[in-house]
Amino acid sequence: MRIALAGNPNSGKTTMFNALTGRNEKIGNWAGVTVERKEHPIKKAFCGSNENLVAVDLPGAYSMSPFTSEESITSSYVKNEHPDAIINIVDATNLSRSLFFTTQLLELGIPVVIALNKADINEKKQTVIDVQALSAALNCPVVETISIDNSHDDLAKLVSTAISLCGKTQKAPYSQGEIDLSDKKVVEAADRKRFAFVNKIVADVETRKILTKDKNYQDKIDAILTNKWLGIPIFAVVMLLVFKISQEWLGAWIAEGYEFENGTVIPGLVSLIDSFGQWVAGLLEGAGASAIVSALLVDGIIGGVGAVVGFLPLVMVMYFLIALLEDCGYMARVAVVLDPIFKKVGLSGKSVIPFVIGIGCAVPGIMACRTIRNERERKAAAMLTPFMPCGAKIPVISLFAGAFFDNAGWVSFVMYFTGIVLIFLGALLINKITGLKIRKSFFIIEMPEYKVPSLWNAFKSMCDRGWAYIVKAATIILLCNTAVQIMQTFDWSFQEAASADTSILATIAGPFAYLLVPVVGVLSWELAAAAVTGFIAKENVVGTLAVCFVGLENLIDTEELALMEGAGAEVAGIMAITKAAALAYLMFNLFSPPCFAAIGSMNAEMKDKKWLLGGIGLQLGTGFTVGYLVYTIGTLISDASALNIGGAIGGAIAIAVFAAIVIVLISRANAKLKQEYALSGKR
């Protein structure tokens, strides 16, 4: 038996779904968090004697006539898949809007029970709804719920009501009757009647002391947070705090340990992993294991995976903070603040939500693009989200900051800042290529009520994402590291390679190394191998570098996110590249195409091979160009004689080809635009 959860956006469907099923699906305080249908069995505690109850979470919708792609998921599901019952979640603070959809659902002939949600907010605002009168007027059971607080028995009551209704028919309180759905005027007239019907019910059952149209304290907060001058600085400070807390304070303390003033030291995660590695090495030595096995296990597996797991605290603290931001209602305000700026480059203000989520991970970030209504704006946002350095790129940034720049904080700052700049430049480029017409674009976003973010929900979301990170480290990254370790130990005849340069890995990565010469100035199959494994998962860059450079794993305290005292220069020496090259290589890894998982979700959002290829091309071109420019200009400034002339010329040719492609595409778009304007001029 399937029970569908349907209702307006941001009415609390997913929160209720999570409470009913024990799942941990993404929630947030803005309209349009859920973009896909989700199904899961309902917890036994709510089912009573019934078995096989499945809850179906649907994206929010204002009406049965779909407006955005996620709304059409909802209407087509309830129309075509015949759920056994519908729980219609109604935002009790906005009855007058919500009941429009409710009356449409009631006409479908599927049993409906109404969950009058957010009853707690109404209480605070002294709004009283006569539940019995509402139930009578709609001819449908109504249960008051507070889905953010599951200490009540309201959910059990809701589910049992839904079960008891199954198979029965409810008489719809309002019926549209047979009308010509293709005639816009007729449909609008029918919808007006429906709203009139809803308005009458609301007038009968609802008593409000505080009117929504009057200014309240929330508007005062809005006035500050979305202030013309303060809005952007406040957002910058908030994001800076997120980074500081996760990467330098709390996150770093958990990772590296914390020393109190009296000298007491709490060991961090990394020193624990380190001791574990040494313990295993000791065991192996005692057991008389061969050097190869020992190297594989200790350096390859524990070292490589440990390098990634060591960053877990930083990433988890960041997820926690982002979850708090999503939950409090601030995201919609940020969209308002940034819309005027984003509009100038042809993006919607709403694309800031994907970008911020993308700081944690690009995959959910790209999925969050779906609420952007304009197709071109949506695809552009999906294409640009990966430029925001994600959690998996933090280890890469830290490694290079430690090895070449003495752990300077500016490295990290420059990377995020460059990401933002590239988003803007990329958006401009996409405009030019797709031939943005001068058109009216409208922006409308609902301002959800602020609420105190739930620490528990943020904690759950953090654990969920943290667990996914560990699983990734224990599967994909472990596998890659093992493969890399084996491939660089043996040659093609499966004998232990005489030197790493004759290993399987070196011969495979060799050709790619030529492509990287313009970025790093030297021919290095190790760097090429790391960049290639980075496409599987960006953390691999660190793991592969640690494995590949002989001796490096002893110098990078891989787990310590940084280098052992004084080892920086040595590592720099082993990698045999200059500072300029290191910075260039780092940027190439950050701004070239993201990992396969992110490319997969780009594909899912764009649903268009041309856009996908264009996106990957743009990212590849950008990563290469940025890397090339940083290396070439950096080298010319620091030590012009060290410039690899051949690489510089080769890179310039590659970029010229890239630029030529872009210019051809732009001129084609312009020609097309001219043609269209000419046609419209004739009319």
């Binding site: 006539s65 007058s96 709203f195 929504t212 508007d219 979305t226 009216k440 409208f442 409308i444």
Partner: protein, 70 residues
């Protein structure tokens, strides 16, 4: 006049919504924003305004504010 010139805090009745974007029109309709319904500008910003329709708040940009005739 358009919503752009509306007085803050005063309730107006929507006369018309001028847009050739039918999808947007029907979206606004489903929010309860259509001719004959009340609308209030809660506060004005230089890039648009915050409006109250039914029992919700929305931020809209100048272009949309200009399209709503009250």
């Amino acid at each position: 006049m358009t919503l752009l010139n509306a007085v803050e805090g005063k309730e107006y009745i929507i006369q018309d919504i001028i847009t050739d974007d039918e999808e947007l029109n029907s979206f606004l309709f489903s929010l309860g924003c259509y001719s004959g319904e009340p609308i209030t500008v809660v506060s004005r910003r230089n890039t648009g305004c915050v409006i109250s329709v039914k029992d919700a708040r929305y931020t809209i940009d100048k272009q949309l504010a200009e399209a709503i005739i009250v």
